[in-house]
Symmetry: C2
Subunit: 135 residues, 2 copies
């Protein structure tokens, strides 16, 4: 009889990592650009309703990526900041690579959004090294 938790964790760590990456990255950028990250802006940036954003943010808080205080801007924890930086870097690398092989900018930008969450560290390293050698 298989313990349910395993499968949970599996999809949770997949799905939820994706939103964790998207949200922390976005929050990081918002803080950089606007000085603070607010729910409205997050929702607007992601093209979703503020309600959905609030719920997801509260889940991410439970998982230790960020901190919320009622009606105050959102801040990233250390864990959240690390994830944001990692995601941003991966995003950039991948984008550069697509452009490098000749994908049109607009297409590359859109494709990266979906692909980035599924690229392992090994593949990322390989890409970096490949671009290094073929410059």
């Amino acid at each position: 009889m298989m313990n349910n938790t395993k499968n949970f964790d599996k999809s949770r760590e997949q799905n939820s990592l994706e939103s964790a990456e998207d949200y922390t990255e976005l929050i990081y950028d918002l803080i950089s650009l606007k000085g603070e990250a607010r729910v409205v802006d997050i929702a607007a940036s992601l093209g979703i309703s503020h309600v959905t954003a609030i719920r997801t943010i509260s889940r991410l808080e439970k998982k230790g990526f960020l901190i919320t205080k009622s009606r105050s801007p959102i801040t990233l924890t250390k864990k959240g900041t690390s994830l944001a930086l990692f995601s941003k870097n991966r995003h950039q690398t991948l984008l550069k690579f697509l452009l490098f092989i000749g994908v049109p900018k607009q297409v590359a930008e859109k494709d990266v959004e979906g692909m980035e969450h599924h690229v392992s560290k090994t593949t990322l390293k390989t890409i970096e090294s490949y671009m290094g050698q073929h410059t």
Copy 2:
């Protein structure tokens, strides 16, 4: 006041296309290899319970990708077969490309699983052409 249907369609056509691709591809392969595609085998191959498989399959039937008959093997419609072939081809191309740039086989195989659904036709074409030129 935004019409709800739009957002629905957006996520539906994303999410559901992913499973449509996975399922049609798998069913296609099962028919090739075993002569027929049964729920148990689909579930086993995807590593999910047969219940989840049944539900998803029934959704895909509603969307015209396949046909089920109670307690009989599953068959693909024309639409389903096209999608399967397209997905298989994209999968292969992407895998070849990752191997080409030097990603270890095991890693490549795993990464492709996630990435493939997010690679546009344009990017796919670009990859093909790039590999053609750099052989």
